[in-house]
Symmetry: C2
Subunit: 123 residues, 2 copies
Amino acid sequence: MATMNINGNVQEATCEQELAAIIDSLEILGGKWKLRIMRHLNNHAAETNTFKKIQREVEGISSKMLTKELRDLEINLLVTRTVLDTRPVSVSYSITEYGLSVLPVNEVLVQWGLNHRQRLKLS
Amino acid sequence: MATMNINGNVQEATCEQELAAIIDSLEILGGKWKLRIMRHLNNHAAETNTFKKIQREVEGISSKMLTKELRDLEINLLVTRTVLDTRPVSVSYSITEYGLSVLPVNEVLVQWGLNHRQRLKLS
DNA sequence: CCGCATCCAAACTGATACTG
DNA sequence: CAGTATCAGTTTGGATGCGG
């Protein structure tokens, strides 16, 4: 089966590879917070997004969760972490250029979810 | 923010609605098995997919999980359940026409996952 | 054959308190 | 301020056995 990658190239993959790819995607982007954080960082890319600020604006997340989620995203090269030279210390996070590649995924999920709501309402 | 729905219409939604839509999508399509089952039913749409057959072909899933996942999918109108008049009873499942709408989501996740693998390898 | 009930281990997550 | 540690409640998922 053929799929297009980010650069518009066609990638061939076996069925097993595709299954693994889906599992990867859901692991990296799934769950309650990951896409919310990515959306937030993208919508506020012009600002300095400190840990504190993110926690205030992504409603309901605990510091433990936010730490964990940001680290996961950093490991996957989707965000960068910068320690600021302030006192007391603060840390800011930004979406990476590569991180922008999750936006289409985001968009598809939004579209499907909105459509699904309507569908359930109609039936 | 504007998004296109399945029919090509533009849907407007508030940020909160978009968040809710993503959460819905991940709830309905996320997890280890849902998309695997949907892929399987789509790839074998011409056959009679009994519970037994699905369990044999979707590797590693327990009957408990398969029951639960299929019911969830049925509730969301993505698959239909048919009790066959055999002895002993067997039950078959098919992807619905509406269920086909998850295929683009599938495709985007496959694409992103494959691309991500390459990306991590390169860095 | 299909699905349910039960039991159980592991993972996830929230609350709270604490450290550098 | 950012992150860690601990505890407890919830959720998840596998294994097994039963009943229609």
